[in-house]
Point group: C2
């Protein structure tokens, strides 16, 4: 059913640009079939205009109708069948099992948002009824409900060609909120992107929604992204990618006549703290498990453990030795693109060339194109604190162990860190007092704190926070994974003494959507 022709999808229509580009198979370095149109600023403008046109309809759908649309998107993605997995494998170098899992995650999060929509609490319907007899002044009837902000632009990530791309978390949460979406396709997986985009396009049509609810613009130029963020009809932006890329978009959004938020998930080295008893009792096991997390998916996760903080001594040495042994046999893995591989190599070279950093071990070297050769380094706290480049993210399987003389040094290292998506405590029950001492610092620095696990798994659920202080994200109050992600695209609107028939259904006296509403401050079931 799904054919790729490389067209620009503006609502229900297809267009060609003036130039084209091709996908590449990172495993072979060769170009893949198919010429993808370079969308230009005129296409950006057309897509945004259509999104603004769709907004009045899409934003006022009932939660049930919007939920059905999300489920239809999920069905249409599944309907692509194996062609999606095959194309994604070719474009990303990721293995089948990983991509099948990622498809499940993509479809699962669309369905999870559908269930949240139906449940209705996300509307935060709040009613402070009139008090006509209040002295000295009567109180008017005041009601509040969450409404979508307007059209949203989504920049997908390269490292999750399904779950963080065209129909990924940003798109799913923006749709859930009621915002039409314009996706700027990631040039590393243009065919995968188009397949998913056509699935969304089909779901829009099947659901009888305005065509402008979704558009898909393939392209490789910065001008395209800049035009989308600058478009006056766009009210928010979702982005997952590099710090430089995210900050460039933030800058464009700031300088608009009407500044808008860019929710950028950017940079994190995800410190892992090895506490003494855990090191003593299972240092070697933890070292081996650490390498599993570090090398998973060629280390191409936002939550890859790029930093280990440990106390000097034999137990930490055992951890490092086990990690080194495990790493040495880790096979080279194909990385997502030549650009990512080159950046990874540069990052490794920088660490390797730093005279205060010691190479602990490398993984297997690859003989083919774009193979990442994992690397583990070590240094001490003074060196780390003195050199900000040591805390820069190296995207890929690279990690740095900071061996600290004492807990005070551990705290100094933590206090010196920038914001993080995650922090991890490897701890045994005997470490609990120390963990409690460090926890406030970890909480201050990160969106998620975990114990005795690895940060690379990010659960899609209600309690997840995949966010954190700058530069992990551009807005510490938000998450890009989990159901809370949708609040990024909602704004509260207040109605005072508005006639019942004109109120949004969520606020009407009859409560037609059967919502639990906050009345005079108290949650009140329908």
């Amino acid at each position: 059913m799904s054919e790729i022709n490389g067209n620009i999808l503006i609502g229900a229509t297809e267009e060609r640009g003036q130039a084209t580009f091709q996908g590449r198979n990172p495993a072979t370095g060769e170009s893949l079939p198919g010429a993808f149109a370079e969308a230009g600023v005129e296409h950006a403008s057309a897509a945004c205009a259509l999104a603004a046109e769709a907004f009045p309809v899409f934003s006022t759908l009932s939660p049930a109708d919007r939920a059905a649309f999300l489920e239809s998107v999920a069905e249409h993605i599944l309907g692509i069948g194996d062609a999606l997995i095959i194309r994604a494998m070719e474009e990303s170098g990721l293995p089948r099992a990983r991509l099948e899992g990622e498809r499940g995650r993509t479809v699962g999060q669309l369905r999870l948002f559908a269930s949240v929509l139906r449940q209705g609490d996300w509307l935060e319907a709040t009613i402070d009824p009139a008090m006509p007899d209040r002295a000295p002044l009567p109180r008017p009837d005041i009601r509040r409900v969450n409404q979508p902000v307007g059209p949203v632009v989504v920049f997908g990530a390269s490292n999750f060609p399904l779950a963080f791309s065209v129909a990924g978390g940003d798109t799913a949460s923006a749709f859930a909120a009621g915002c039409p979406v314009v996706v700027k396709g990631h040039p590393a997986h243009p065919g995968t992107g188009e397949l998913v985009a056509r699935a969304i396009q089909a779901a829009v049509a099947a659901s009888g929604l305005p065509a402008g609810t979704f558009s898909y613009l393939p392209g490789t130029t910065q001008a395209l992204g800049a035009a989308l963020v600058a478009d006056p009809r766009v009210k928010a932006v979702g982005f997952t990618g590099s710090r430089a890329g995210g900050l460039a978009l933030v800058e464009i959004a700031r300088n608009r006549p009407e500044p808008i938020p860019v929710y950028a998930e950017m940079s994190s080295i995800n410190p892992v703290l090895l506490l003494p008893t855990a090191a003593a009792k299972r240092g070697a096991d933890l070292g081996a498990a650490f390498i599993q997390s570090l090398t998973m998916g060629a280390g191409q996760f936002c939550t890859n453990p790029g930093l280990v903080v440990a106390l000097e001594g034999a137990d930490t040495e055992a951890f490092i030795a086990a990690a080194a042994q495990s790493l040495t046999s880790a096979p080279a893995q194909v990385m997502l693109s030549e650009g990512i591989w080159r950046n990874y190599c540069s990052g490794i070279d920088l660490l390797a060339g730093n005279e205060r950093v010691t190479l602990v071990a490398r993984g297997q070297a690859g003989e083919e194109a774009n193979r990442g050769q994992a690397a583990l380094f070590r240094t001490d706290a003074d060196a780390f604190l003195a050199d900000p480049t040591l805390s820069h993210e190296v995207f890929g399987s690279s990690s740095l162990v900071i061996v600290c003389r004492d807990v005070a040094e551990v705290k100094r290292v933590l206090a010196g860190l920038e914001g993080q998506l995650t922090s991890t405590l490897l701890m045994d029950p005997e470490d609990q007092a120390l963990a409690g001492e460090l926890l406030p610092l970890l909480t201050e620095k990160s969106g998620r704190v975990l114990a005795n696990g690895w940060p690379t798994g990010v659960e899609v659920c209600h309690a997840m926070v995949h966010g954190g202080p700058f530069p992990a994200t551009s807005d510490v109050r938000t998450t890009s994974v989990g159901t809370l992600a949708m609040v990024r695209f909602l704004r509260p609107v207040c109605y005072q003494n508005i006639p019942d028939a004109l109120l949004p259904p969520a606020l009407q006296a009859a409560n037609p959507w059967g919502l639990t509403r906050r009345v005079n401050g108290t949650l009140t079931p329908a």
Copy 2:
């Protein structure tokens, strides 16, 4: 009990700066007794350091303890007695009844936040329990709770020397969230500010809280404000004031190594739509009532009705005529400061000098210092749409009536507006269809839409949104009035497999705070 000595209050200590300034009585133009220290950048740094020191304790108080502190602040403000009202009258030119009402509002909102704290829903405690048997991968235990962002800097407004100043909405909501607060005192009411600051200082001491929970820095320099916003320990800023002032702070906050949010409530002209049947049936009454709202408090409200949009014809003329008549007898009123009065006069001059704008009426001229002489102007839609200066806020009693030829022109005028705090519909039941047609546009443009009232009353309650799209505020997802204001100073933090004893109480298995928590997506009472 309350003496004013003009000192800088850094936690529990008092300091003098190198220079001083004096308060002024705008009603007489004369200086008031008391020399107020100019806080400098070194005082800003000391206050922020102390706030950061207080954060670990203040941020982890139980909701009940923090509620008791807010109530203690309210008690201490009341404890100042009439000295507070008298000094505020002298410094602001506002009448006694207004300031007594404002004190009630200030105390009331502190108590409202206390009740919200005790109720606990603001924590959004969310638990997705572990699923050890889930295939293919078990789910870890994941919990989320809202936590305060860190120390907050508050810039009070001149126009509400109590309710939007030292212990106003920003301070109350930041305290409620668990954030220590450093207030940059407004130089238009330094004595009032100090009295309230000393009340907060006393409440901090009486509650046994760390002294750095609150500091108060009087001063007139931009360097002081800039140093506070740039301080790395500060994590958010609350501001109410001019567009230029707000944007200057936003710019400083953006350029920090770690950018932080500035919640700036800035500029709004609050369109009022006069619909045809309302105009026909009660145009003259509405015209007179409009002037009541326009001239209240010398027009010095963020929600002052600075724009009326009406359809051409005899009914609108009757509205304008009644407004003109009412305005002509409106007495001159003392404005908050000489600077505000000068800006107001400039704004009026600009409108009066615009050849496409007609003066409808002026209020009474004042003979004493700083008296605002109210003004009403009219123009047509073409002129309004052609000249962006006509939509600039004139802070004070000034309004512009746009007489439109038809509904299409009304829509063009509305579509051309920047973001607003409020929009108002003056409507009769027969106007409902038209109101329904305009409502989506009004909702898109404003944080609060009201019918058959005036925007100048802003209720402090759960459903209030005193916010709106840029430039009404710098963040459309927020409000600076009402209980929702506190979410500006909260961030979600996620805990994964953290031992129960280390979890924040809100997330512990025993639920010691008795919270309603979201478990697997469903709200679950304790």
